[in-house]
Symmetry: C2
Subunit: 130 residues, 2 copies
């Protein structure tokens, strides 16, 4: 291994993770795809025709959405005869959530501000009552 | 208010949240936009020219990315003379994380499976040693 090899590997891994985040977020942009994932969350697995039923769109359109989810690694497909069963593959969504989690301090910050405001109001109300 | 009004309001709110998720995830698809947000997370606020500096792309391209982030409600802009300062607006990313959080049980599940596998291996190893 040359001294540069670890740097190259890290660079490759960062790039790989970035490309995966691109694909995960792109897959999540569409409401129909999010609805499919939400259903697979409730039911663990579903066949393609079961998944297509509640939607006002045709089966080939649903299949296209499933292709996007599959290519992004968000679902797995298994075939038994003519029946394709679909399941959630959780890892990419976990990585997307880890990415979003770094902004958590902003949410707690706005909650802190809200709490401080509530306390000030409370303090003012107490003063008035005296 | 007619009896249907609350249903219409709920429907409107669900639609509004869905459109917001569309815009949030679409804004997060691009690596440059994610890098801008990551920098705003570290530095709280930055001017447009400061934000443009580390990127190999030209200022107008950075401005376009900032427009997408602004339209999706992920950043705020404030102007003082010719200087535009940009900050994170956390709410839409919080909502996106809440959406992703419903898949959390799958992550714990795969951790459980990993733990069960480790225990089986451990058990098998103990048996062998006897």
């Amino acid at each position: 291994m040359t001294p540069e090899a670890p740097v190259v590997i890290v660079h490759y891994m960062v790039n790989y993770q970035e490309r995966q985040l691109d694909r995960t977020f792109a897959a999540l942009v569409d409401g129909t795809r999010r609805a499919i994932l939400a259903r697979l969350e409730r039911e663990d697995s579903a066949t393609v025709s079961e998944l297509a039923k509640p939607f006002a769109i045709k089966l080939p359109a649903v299949m296209k959405h499933l292709d996007v989810l599959y290519d992004a690694g968000l679902i797995s497909r298994s075939k038994a005869g003519r029946v394709v069963t679909v399941r959630i593959q959780p890892e990419p969504m976990r990585a997307a959530m880890v990415w979003l989690r770094r902004y958590e301090r902003f949410w707690s910050k706005s909650l802190d501000r809200l709490a401080a405001y509530a306390e000030r109001r409370e303090g003012a109300a107490t003063k008035k009552r005296r």
